[in-house]
């Protein structure tokens, strides 16, 4: 069947053990695994989007308000800018990583964090505003889905901020070890991915919701 079984083999030529095998590359293995995690996170958001889609018919809002009545796309646009600039800052920080500049990396991450905090702060402020006008998740299925999608995203951002804090500490304590660099790369993927998810949320939830 398989041809390799039938060919005669010269015992002196054959390689049975991998002499110069160095083992796997730690950073690229870690990065690949994190890609896989991002994939599952993507599915998580996809499911929430599906739920939002199913629960955004007019009857889903019961007798309560629809997004058109309470979202503020301009306000949220500021959030969008904060998040994008945060990703940009993180990008600068990673550029400094290539040159091995500790100060550059730390400054980039700090800028990124500040902008991320702005994002979360604006989000909390927005939620409080909506609650104050009676727009709460208990009102209708549609609002439940609205809150689930937007606040799960905000929770991801929050986790990312804690992660940045931990990374700052680790960079200061240990410098650019293999582990630290691997984590910084993973964090970059995480942060960019959250920004991409935000684009979808901004378009489908805020802009679309405002217009319909």
């Amino acid at each position: 069947m398989s041809s390799s079984h039938d060919k005669p083999v010269d015992p002196n030529q054959v390689v049975l053990w991998s002499d110069d095998y160095e083992g796997h590359d730690v950073i690229s293995t870690r990065t690949f695994g994190f890609w896989m995690y991002i994939l599952s996170d993507g599915m998580l958001f996809a499911t929430l989007f599906a739920a939002y889609g199913v629960l955004s018919y007019s009857h889903s809002y019961y007798t309560g308000p629809t997004p058109a009545q309470f979202v503020a796309p301009w306000y949220t646009f500021i959030q969008t800018m904060a998040l994008f600039l945060s990703v940009l800052a993180y990008g600068f920080s990673m550029a400094s990583l290539k040159t091995g500049s500790k100060a550059g990396v730390i400054n980039g991450i700090m800028a990124s964090m500040v902008l991320g905090i702005v994002f979360v702060g604006l989000d909390i402020h927005d939620v409080l505003r909506m609650i104050s006008i009676g727009v709460t998740p208990e009102v209708s299925g549609g609002l439940s889905a609205f809150y689930a999608l937007t606040q799960v995203h905000a929770a991801h951002i929050f986790v990312g901020l804690i992660w940045m804090l931990v990374m700052l500490y680790q960079i200061l304590r240990k410098g650019f070890t293999e582990d630290v660099v691997g984590r910084l790369i993973s964090l970059r993927m995480f942060w960019q991915f959250q920004a991409v998810m935000w684009v979808f949320i901004y378009v489908f939830v805020y802009l679309w919701g405002y217009m319909s």
Binding site: M1, S2, S4, H5, D6, V9, P11, V14, V15, L16, W17, S18, D19, Y21, G23, H24, D25, S28, T29, F32, G33, M36, Y37, L39, S40, D41, M43, L44, T47, L48, A50, A51, V54, L55, H59, S60, Y61, Y62, G64, T136, P137, E138, V139, S140, G141, G142, S144, A145, Y147, A148, I162, V166, Y169, Q170, R173, T177, D179, R183
Partner: protein, 716 residues
């Protein structure tokens, strides 16, 4: 935000109260006493023999993929037994309760049989959840854990620590569902949950909460595991292990874990939204306020159907390893096999709607999903024909493992054909929610169980260094098969006779005779359980006579059979260079089977860590705290988990290095241990004790089973 629960609640204990412990229940109270006594006996025994240190150092804190796999399998077997007892109780209830009259034993206030509807509902819900997610899944994950790294020539999984974490989180789920027996109730809404009955208004107790958090925990553990498997196979293959040489079992692990990685998040979201409804008062799946009941059902089966293929594909992989080894032929149609595996995995995503054709989504949608479902039959058929062609003109050895594999094929055939019937909406409307469906998926799930038993017998010598008793393995097989026949064929009949599923009181007296037959089947199953335990006992007692060499069956094919049995903790003294698909067979056929590396290199191994155990324990606390709404406990456990994770990430794991000289010594010892005929003295675990055997066995009997290797006939 937080919903007010009906009944008492206190900040300190949440909904927990002494009255939640069913000490008056005549089944649970004695069971509790028995379990407590058994627990005390176990703890006492371990203390007496001074084994705590050994257990902690060698097992609980291990990051070795083989040991973790063994623990997964033990966990799975224990839960398989628990689920079986549930099944036994359900069968007995139906046998006792059948008929029009009031034939209750009044033991627990039951009017029919001996179980109240509420209790019966908890049993079938727990049974389904346990069997699919806490028995089948851990068994499969355990076997993948042991075999996949060996088959690709890796020293461990890509992330050994994450691997341990997956195990302990799964164990936390197991503890959570087990504790629901004795503290509070379990859900009575079926394993998949009916919307909106699981809403707080209709299920005010903690049962549904137990169900949610148990599922969330297994989902988390399995997702982590799937990331690990994919990274391992993609990144850690030994030189020469090209994609076209990957053993079929590893291929099936890849496809299954792609499914797991992408589908479990759907389950996590679906259940989190149920949780939001119950805890925060949202309206995702409520009957009013704009909620949507069918959204839940869709989201659940969007995971649920891929999940059934997540469990069947590794089983297919196991069959694909066992059959060639005992047919002495390479697998027929390797490429077709791989493609079929991925075709099944792909199609599994677009068929979920066949679980609720009766939702009534109109002819177009139903037809789409009907055809998609039928499409699954094509790659599955390809696989079955490939297995048959592998056996065709092979030199067959009907060892116990082979019997299980062939039995699995028969079950697959019956389950697949009945599945085809169910995929026709017109038929489905007739039999949906009847026990015909129950019989269908039990055929499929038992196919998995058969494959798992085959795989356990097949790979046992690799991990432990000695074979399981063949005779008892076969006795168990026949008893188990008789039980399967007696329990599930009447179920098809009953389905046609109109019995709907989940009846605590089957009212039609015409069904009685089939219930009696099923009960006999259950008794036969009990015998097979005893045969299994006896097989284990006999095998351990006589292990000295069943010691094996590296190639335990003499006809094995893939890479894992190159390394010593039991597998040393470093897997391969030197990473092998792969020259062919079925490397072990290739080396045997070309006369290299005795060659061992003559020089060594230093290797790097990860350290053990207790962190995974702590985090697992904390996730249990989180699940328990959420179930009982003990907020301070939940929040504290959550914060502690995060802090431990941060601490661990700061500490990292430098691992340790074994020098080349030491490797040479270890390799010599391992080989000595494998082939030593004289050593009767028990030896401690650790390095040379191999993966698992605490005692090195004596008297090597290296006669291979079946026909001698070396001259296997290629198919031409």
């Amino acid at each position: 935000m937080l919903v007010n629960v009906p009944g008492p609640w206190s900040p300190l204990l949440g909904r927990l109260a002494l009255s939640e412990i069913p000490y008056t229940n005549p089944i649970l109270a004695p069971l509790f006493v028995v379990i407590v006594l058994a627990g005390i006996a176990l703890v006492a025994a371990i203390t007496y023999y001074g084994k705590w240190g050994y257990l902690w150092k060698e097992w609980f804190t291990t990051v070795d993929h083989k040991k973790l796999g063994v623990m997964y399998i033990i966990l799975g077997l224990v839960m398989l037994f628990r689920g079986f007892i549930d099944g036994l109780m359900m069968r007995t209830q139906q046998m006792l309760a059948v008929g029009p009259g009031d034939n209750g034993m009044k033991a627990m206030g039951a009017i029919h049989g001996y179980l109240t509807p509420f209790h019966f509902g908890q049993i079938y819900s727990a049974h389904g959840l346990i069997m699919i997610l806490l028995a089948a899944t851990p068994l499969l994950v355990g076997i993948m854990n042991i075999i996949v790294p060996l088959q690709i020539g890796a020293r461990d999984m890509a992330y050994p620590y994450l691997n341990a974490l997956g195990l302990w989180i799964t164990a936390a789920a197991v503890f959570l569902i087990m504790i629901s027996l004795f503290v509070g109730d379990f859900s009575h809404n079926g394993w998949f949950g009916y919307a909106p009955i699981f809403e707080l208004a209709y299920s005010p107790g903690v049962g549904v909460d137990y169900w949610i958090w148990t599922l969330e925990l297994v989902a988390l553990g399995t997702t982590l595991g799937s990331i690990n498997f994919l990274a391992t196979v993609v990144k850690m293959r030994a030189p020469g292990m090209t994609w076209s040489r990957l053993p079929i079992f590893t291929w099936s692990a890849v496809s299954a874990n792609i499914i797991a990685l992408t589908s479990f998040p759907c389950l996590q979201v679906a259940l989190a939204l149920v949780g939001a409804d119950r805890y925060l008062g949202t309206h995702f799946f409520t009957a009013g306020f704009g909620g949507n009941l069918m959204l839940y059902t869709n989201l659940f089966w969007l995971w649920g159907h891929p999940e059934v293929y997540f469990v069947i594909l590794p089983a297919f992989g196991m069959i694909s390893e066992i059959i060639p080894a005992f047919s002495e032929k390479p697998i027929f149609g390797y490429t077709a096999m791989v493609l079929a595996t991925f075709a099944i995995a792909g199609v599994s995503w677009i068929v979920w709607l066949h679980h609720f054709f009766t939702m009534g989504m109109g002819p177009y949608v139903s037809t789409e999903f009907s055809i998609a479902t039928m499409l699954v039959g094509i790659p599955t058929g390809v696989k079955v024909f490939n297995w048959a062609a592998t056996m065709y003109k092979g030199r067959l050895t009907f060892s116990a493992a082979m019997l299980w594999a062939i039995g699995a094929l028969f079950l697959l055939l019956i389950g697949g054909l009945t599945g085809m019937m169910l995929s026709i909406p017109a038929v489905n409307y007739m039999v949906h929610n009847s026990v015909f469906v129950v019989a269908h998926f039990h055929m499929m799930l038992l196919c998995i169980v058969y494959a798992v038993f085959g795989a356990v017998i097949f790979w046992f010598p690799k991990v432990f260094g000695f074979k399981l008793n063949e005779a008892w393995g076969k006795i168990m097989f026949w008893l188990f098969s008789a039980g399967t026949f007696l329990v599930f064929f009447p179920m098809f009949m009953l389905g046609f006779m109109g019995e709907t599923r989940r009846l605590d009181w089957p009212f039609d007296p015409h069904w009685a005779v089939w219930f009696d037959v099923q009960e006999i089947g259950i008794v036969v199953y009990v015998l097979s359980v005893l045969a299994f335990l006896w097989m284990i006992y006999v095998s351990i007692r006589d292990r000295a006579h069943h010691r094996v060499g590296a190639d335990a069956w003499g006809t094995s094919r893939s890479l894992e059979w190159l390394t010593d049995s039991p597998v040393p903790f470093y897997n391969y003294a030197m990473v092998p260079h792969i020259n062919a698909r079925d490397e072990a067979a290739w080396r045997r056929e070309h006369g290299f089977s005795q060659s061992r590396p003559d020089h060594f290199a230093a290797i790097h191994m990860p350290n053990n860590t207790g962190v995974a155990v702590y985090i697992g324990a904390l996730t249990f606390v989180i699940g328990f705290g959420l179930t009982w709404r003990i907020w301070w406990l939940t929040v504290a456990a959550l914060i502690l988990t995060v802090l431990i994770m941060i601490y661990r990430s700061g500490k990292g794991d430098p691992g340790y290095v074994i020098s080349a000289e030491e490797m040479e010594k270890l390799d010599r010892e391992s080989r000595q241990n494998m082939s030593d005929g004289q050593q009767h003295l028990p030896k401690g675990g650790g390095y040379t004790g191999g993966t698992v055997t605490a005692y090195s066995a004596a008297a090597s009997d290296q006669r291979p089973q079946g026909t001698p290797p070396g001259n296997s006939r290629p198919l031409s």
